[in-house]
Every structure is written in structure tokens, then in C-alpha cells.
Amino acid sequence: MAVLSEEQEMLRNMARNWATNESPVSEFRKVRAAGEPQAYNSAAYAMMAQMGWAGIIIPEAHGGSDFGFLSAGLVVEELGKTLTASPLLATSIAASAILLGGSDAQKAKWLPRLASGESVATLAVDEGAHHHPLAIGTIVSGGRLSGRKAFVPEAHGANLFIVAARDGLYLVDKGDGVLLATRRLTDQRSYADVAFEGAAADKLAGGGDSLLDDVLDRARLLTAAEMLGMAQALFDMTLDYLKQRVQFDQLLASFQALQHRMADLFTDLAQMRSAVEAGLQAVDAGFGVARSATVAKAEANRVLHAISNQAIQLHGGIGMTDEYNVGFYLKRARVLEASWGSSGYLRDRFAALSGY
């Protein structure tokens, strides 16, 4: 665990308590049962925003607390532990795009609304089922944006899209010329293919040539933070179970084969935590973000993949039931693994960034 300031520790504890008490996995079950395309509880998100979580990375001048990415990651991690369905992740990613590339006017218009929870925003880059930020066909002419984005997260709840076009990122209000087609993925969250048909678009003109990459790195990091929470929760759940379940007149925890399995996963989890926290800290320090974000998401993919499979396996039959929570983590895990860079993509990116 990174060394936290007193404020960060308070923030984390607050998030932990809220997630445990107000947003346990049973809340996600309710969201799933309701079957709404938006797939989160608006009242719960309003509470989260009220506690300041939507403004953690937003400067005080724009209604945020400017606590930085490590702090945002702490909150996202805690929410990941209980699979809290909310647009916090998507909105934070979108806010980072406005912060990096927005004009003063754009910041002044949007950041306070995002920080207060009044608006929800999301980043729309990929146009196919794989993360491929170089393959963008979306174009803007005369201030009108046209193109199709695939599997846009939180598209239903969003009022604002940050859309990647060939020549940069644009702000697009949900309104005329924005058409959603719901995509129900196995994690039962909000996804939609979004068709932009001459929608009014406002360019994020700042941030330089690397704006899209910089925003994607932040998306990878915050996603990795959610994955860290999921991995930690799965690990804890599994360890608890092994310490309770008796077979052959012994606790499962007494079998050396399983002890070693858990020791291996514990080691992996330590790697994942270091990588994710270091990546978040890199953003706060403003140094080495690309490389560390790539490492963080790659490690998150690898470790959560392993832990989610082992969690099912080590629970035995009970882990296969819908009544038990492990399966929800597995389903969400694969979706996040495929978002903003699969393991293959990230390895390739790492090699490229490293010059080989």
C-alpha cells in the first residue's frame, strides 16, 4: 500500500465504509434485476458526488478538491471491491480529458457540473470491439461530428461525450444527432454503440499532439484501480472461504497445494498493487505516465484474470452459482480486461515505448 497522507487515509476509509455499508454487492444485484440500460442507481451516484468523489481530480477553482489521481484511485478501488455500478470512473476519465485539453471556457462550463454530479460524461474512442485508438474514422466538418463508436461505457447516463475524431478530441452534448444502441455485456453494466450523425462538436484544442494518448493512459489507470479493488476483494473472499470450508475432516486452508496457490496469488496481487499505485502517483507527479500506465493496466489484466479464475475454482460448486458473488467479478473482470487495451495490446505498447 502506498504511503498515504492523512487526508488520503480519511478519504479511503470513508469510501470503504460507504461501499461496505451503502453499496454492497447486493446493491448491484438490484441494479441488475431492474434491467435498466443506465444500469446504476442515480441516487447512489448523487450521494457519491455529494461526498466529493466526482471532483477528486478537478481543481478547487472548478468545484473539485484537487486531491489527485492516487486519491481518485483509492476511491475507485474501494468501489470496485463491492462492484458498485456508477459512472464515477467514466466521468473521472472524461474530466481528465477536459483538464488536459480544454480551454478555460470549456473547463468553466463542464468541470463544476461533473464535480457536483449534475452531469455525467464519458470517453468514446474505439470504433470496434478491440481497443485501437489509431483506427478512427470519425470526422468533423463545420463543427459537426460524424462517426460510430462501439461499446461506449455509461453512454446511457451520460450527458456529455468526449469523442475521438481523426483530428483530436471533441465535446459532444447528448442531443440531436446522437443515437444510442444498447449493448448488453456479460457484466450487465451500461454500454452502447453510439452513432454521431452531424452532432454539434466543440474541440478540445489544448493538450498538444499526445492528448488522446494522455487521456487513454488515465483511463487505463483508473480502470486498473477498479480492477485492483476487484482482485483484492476476490482474494479476501477466497481466503476466508478456504479458512471455513471443511473437507476430509480438515479446513481446505490446511492443504499445501492450496496454500501455495494462495501464496502465489498473494505475490501477484502485491505486484498488481505496486504497479497500479505507482501509475496513479506518476500522474500526480507529472512524470513517466505513459510507461507506468501501460505497466499498471497490463499487470491488472494479468493478475485479475488469474485471481478471478482461481476464485471460482477454489470455491468449488458454490462459486458457480448466481446466488454467490464470485461470478459477477469474473464477468466484470473480462470486460475491463478488454477495455482500453487487452494484454496483447499493452505488451505491444510497452515494447514500443521501450524502444524495441
Binding site: F151, R184, T186, Q247, A257, G317, G319, M320, A338, S343
Partner: protein, 403 residues
């Protein structure tokens, strides 16, 4: 130069092949071509169409759904070579074997070995005709990997047993007609107190509650027995022999999970070919994504050697007469590889490979997601991978218990 015996065998084989072709021409309906054998599977309610029923009855009458089982009990009475001809000819015209389920895969072979004459006459023919569905009443809440810990009790009431207790994870329990169950007849000895008992699922006192799985389906149940009367004639073997018989059945289960048609069928289409339909290829027709290409080739090489291992084991076990402990190696390997394949399919398809519902996903994309989730069970049931490793280490390799 072929000996006279060999050429006679060839002539017989040719004649038999002709017989199978004639049977197919006369009985296999075109509209079932290429259809899976869903109804004969372990799960799925009986909702046969008239055409499907006729096909099942035609195959059942010949006994060709259980080709090597003895003719006197309704099997095909065929040699291995002949059975292979049936399989080949069926495959050629896209015909499926309509006879299946746990009766065929596990219970039948076990009863043929351990049942008495009356039991074989009563239970094998309906299995060969696909008329009766069996389920497996082994696991209990506190008896999973430690199967011998079962507590469901069959009390001796003189002319019958009175059964009380709970089974769980009973696959197809809600659709089954009968259950082969491990029950306790003696509390003083863990292994020798177990007996193998056949229970009617519609007997008074049997209650099933379906359990929903992470894949969204409910193919298994909790099964409760409350004062269920079971005739003594339904005891297989002697009292106390249930552990030996039950373990034998598990060997058949393992062999079928790993070597069975399901896994082989799954591999009809190479992952490489699928990947080409989702991703770009370069000038030579090779996948442009070299990272993915490498992973697929790595997988398919290992899958290939699994198939070779399965074939070799089958030949060896036939020479030795029956299933063996190599079934643990195959079970462990086959299930792991099929899980890996499902994961790779997701990587190939990206988010398009993680669809839950909606027409924007093709039927096979959606089915593969459910299959990916359901497939996580394959390393748990039939003796988990960890238990297979214990069997390999202790029984095959002679390694010692923790002292």
C-alpha cells in the same frame, strides 16, 4: 500381402458399412442434418419433436446409440471397429447420436459391470432406447471433493430402505426419471458404510430445487429426500460396496468429460480461422496481429498433443480392458484446455465476445459466452483438478501423504 483373415475382416467391414448407409438412407431425416444432439444431453427438458422421436427410436431399436453394449440388453453388440464405422457414417451425413445422457456416459457401463441380471434387464434397455434419463446423486453440501463424507442415510426397513438426506449440484435433477445415488447404510465406517442405490425421482418424498448458475441457466438442483421408500432390489452390488462401484463410475465420467465428443466437436473450427473472421490478415493470409497469432498457435499445438494423448490412452486402455487412472490426466488436461480455448475466443472477439443478450451479438457469440462461464465448472465437477492431481501424485506416481 493380406492374410485370409484380414481380407475376410475387410469384406465384413465393407458389408457392415453398406448396412449402416442403408439404415441412414432409410431413417435419417434431412431436416435433422447437422443439428446437435441437445435432447440426448445431460440437461434440457424432454421436448422432442415427432421427427426427432422417430430418429431416436430408429437408432434405439438397432442399439447403435450404445454400439458396443451387449445385444441382449439392447445395445448394438458391435465390435470397436464396427462402432467406429457407425460413427464415421453418421458423421458423413451430419447425423447425430440421439442416445445420450448420464445413463449412457456413466451409469450404464457401471451397471453392466456391477449390476445383477435383473437390474441389467430392467435398466439397460431403456437407456439404449433413450427413454429414461438418469441423474447423479453423489455430492452433498458437506461432501464435495470429500465424496465419501456423504450423510444421506438409507435405513434398512426389512423389505425396503427409507432414505433421508440432501444431495446438491444434481445435474438435470429436475428432468431426470431416476437417480443413481451414493447413500450411507452404515455410520461406523466412512468408506465401507456407503452403498449404491437407484432411486425413482418421482417417488414420494423426493423434492428438487433448481439452482441458477453464473451462466444464467439452471441445469442443476438441490435434491431433498424425505422418508423416500426404495425397494431393496434397487441396491447395486452389496451393501457397503457403494464406494468401489461409485469410484468406477467416476472413471467413466472423467473419460467422458475429457475424451468425449463434446470437446472434440468444439474444436471443429480452428481458432485461427475464427480469428481471421474477426481480425485483419496480411498479404499471405496470415493473421496481422502477431501477438494473437502466437497465442493461438501455442494453444493449438497443445490441443493437438492432448488429442494424441487421448487417443493413445484410449488404445492402451482398450488393450488393458477398460478405463484406467490415465483418465485423471485426460480429465485435468482436457478441461483446462477447453477453458483456455473459451478465454482465447474472448481475446479474439474483444468486447464482441462478451455479449450477454441482444441481436447485435450472433447466436454463437452469445452461446460461447455462456459456454465460457459454464465451462468454469468442468475443472470442479467429476473430481476437481486438484483432486485429479492428488490421484495422479498418490495412485499413479506413488508419492506419499504428508507424514
Amino acid at each position: 500381402m493380406a492374410t485370409q483373415l484380414e481380407s475376410e475382416a475387410h469384406a465384413n467391414a465393407d458389408a457392415f458399412r453398406t448396412e449402416v448407409r442403408q439404415f441412414l438412407a432409410a431413417n435419417f431425416p434431412e431436416d435433422l442434418k447437422g443439428k446437435g444432439n441437445l435432447l440426448a444431453g445431460l440437461d434440457g427438458p424432454t421436448s422432442e419433436t415427432a421427427v426427432q422421436q422417430r430418429w431416436r427410436e430408429a437408432v434405439g431399436e438397432r442399439g447403435w446409440g450404445t454400439p458396443t453394449w451387449p445385444k441382449e440388453y439392447g445395445g448394438g453388440g458391435l465390435t470397436r471397429a464396427e462402432a467406429r464405422i457407425v460413427e464415421q457414417e453418421f458423421a458423413k451425413v451430419g447425423a447425430y447420436n440421439p442416445i445420450g445422457g448420464m445413463g449412457v456416459l456413466m451409469f450404464g457401463p457401471t451397471l453392466l459391470e456391477y449390476g445383477n441380471e435383473m437390474q441389467k434387464r430392467a435398466h439397460i434397455p431403456p437407456i439404449c432406447r433413450g427413454e429414461i434419463r438418469w441423474c447423479q446423486g453423489y455430492s452433498e453440501p458437506n461432501a464435495g471433493s470429500d465424496l465419501a463424507n456423504i450423510q444421506t442415510f438409507a435405513a434398512d426397513m426389512g423389505d425396503h430402505y427409507l432414505v433421508n438426506g440432501q444431495k446438491t449440484w444434481t445435474s438435470g435433477g429436475q428432468w431426470a426419471d431416476k437417480c443413481f445415488a451414493l447413500v450411507r447404510t452404515d455410520r461406523s465406517d466412512k468408506h465401507k458404510g456407503i452403498s449404491f442405490l437407484l432411486i425413482d425421482m418421482d417417488a414420494p418424498g423426493v423434492e428438487v430445487r433448481p439452482i441458477t448458475m453464473i451462466s444464467g441457466t439452471s441445469p442443476f438442483c438441490e435434491t431433498f429426500f424425505t422418508d423416500v421408500k426404495v425397494p431393496k432390489a434397487n441396491l447395486v452390488g452389496k451393501e457397503g460396496e457403494g464406494w468401489t462401484i461409485g469410484k468406477r463410475l467416476l472413471q467413466h465420467e472423467r473419460t467422458n468429460i475429457s475424451g468425449g465428443g463434446r470437446l472434440a466437436g468444439m474444436m471443429d473450427q480452428s481458432l485461427g480461422d475464427i480469428a481471421k473472421t474477426y481480425g485483419e490478415t496480411d498479404g499471405d493470409g496470415a493473421l496481422a496481429d502477431k501477438v494473437l497469432r502466437d497465442r493461438i498457435a501455442d494453444f493449438e499445438i497443445r490441443w493437438n498433443s492432448f488429442l494424441l494423448t487421448a487417443r493413445r490412452a484410449l488404445e492402451e486402455s482398450k488393450a488393458q480392458g477398460g478405463v484406467s487412472e490415465i483418465s485423471s490426466v485426460l480429465k485435468k488436461l482436457g478441461t483446462r484446455l477447453s477453458q483456455e480455448r473459451s478465454e482465447l475466443l474472448i481475446v479474439i472477439r474483444g468486447l464482441q465476445g462478451l455479449g450477454w443478450e441482444g441481436d447485435a451479438f450472433s447466436e454463437s457469440e452469445r452461446e460461447d459466452v455462456r459456454g465460457w462461464l459454464f465451462g468454469k465448472a468442468s475443472t470442479i465437477y467429476g473430481g476437481s483438478t486438484e483432486i485429479q492431481n492428488n490421484i495422479i501424485a498418490k495412485r499413479v506416481l506413488g508419492m506419499l501423504d504428508h507424514q
